[in-house]
Symmetry: C2
Subunit: 140 residues, 2 copies
DNA sequence: AAAGATAGTGAGGTTACCTCACTATGAGGC
DNA sequence: GCCTCATAGTGAGGTAACCTCACTATCTTT
């Protein structure tokens, strides 16, 4: 098996596994009544705190206009609040509401539980090795 | 660092890497003028040959109705042809056109080249190890 | 003050799915 | 052969998750 075939197979396998992880991750948050994109957004807010929509969009690597939309949806569910940025009147700050904090924590827990199940078939050594290799791939 | 934290970090890292791979994969086929979903479909047809729309949908793990749509789009681009299934008059067979064969091959090559670049930062040993671990995760 | 850049959002668009319903056809049982 | 149930594909309609362009208000730099 040549190097090129290895990599082609590796990419495809990686792709298949990541699609399964994504699907299971989506299912794990579905009972919480929010969508995957919304879950991503509140995850960012939970980890980094209140921020501008533009900053949130950068974190999420989506267009600012799309950031507006995900915040719209979260606000509609009373999971976030918008407030004027005191430093710049053009800008808006997005903050998790108390309910949003709870949902964000529930998302984190559901995701963690799902990851447990997903990676459970690997022993500790393989898990460590995978984490090491993945971190190599993660760097820009 | 506890086991739970390991896995949480691992899942997130895995997620981030797979999103990057997906994005780059999409970009690699963009010049070919087809969308990611269409590329997936012709990939299945290239690998497995002519098949019913229902079978294609199963391969793609999408609803049959969605299978109809992706075939519609491919047919519109003259990349596939529909023909009656001689074994069952309810059914339709989808076949790659000659042009579709060319595009399918171009997709394969573009994907392979992108995977080369993506995994290039790993040495041969790491690549082999990753393939081994991924194959463990791949099994249902 | 003027020019250029920035933040958010309205308007409109594409992609990639989904469910439900319907028609035509096939399979199995009587 | 007839009836019932299942199946294959697709019309109709819907949601989610992005995108670009354009616009107003505000900020920064010259």
């Amino acid at each position: 098996m040549g190097a090129q075939e290895d990599e082609e197979t590796l990419a495809e396998a990686f792709w298949a596994v990541s699609r399964r992880l994504r699907h299971r991750s989506h299912e794990s948050i579905s009972p919480l009544g929010i969508t995957p994109a919304q879950a991503r957004a509140i995850g960012v807010l939970r980890r980094h705190g209140s921020m501008r929509i533009s900053t949130l969009s950068e974190h999420l690597r989506i267009a600012p206009r799309s950031g507006t939309e995900v915040v719209d949806a979260l606000q509609e569910r009373a999971l976030v609040q918008r407030s004027p940025d005191p430093d710049d009147r053009r800008a808006v700050l997005v903050t998790l509401s108390p309910q949003g904090e709870e949902v964000a924590e529930a998302v984190r827990r559901a995701r963690a539980a799902e990851a447990d199940l997903f990676f459970d078939r690997l022993d500790e050594a393989d898990r460590t090795e995978l984490a090491r290799i993945i971190s190599l791939l993660r760097r820009p």
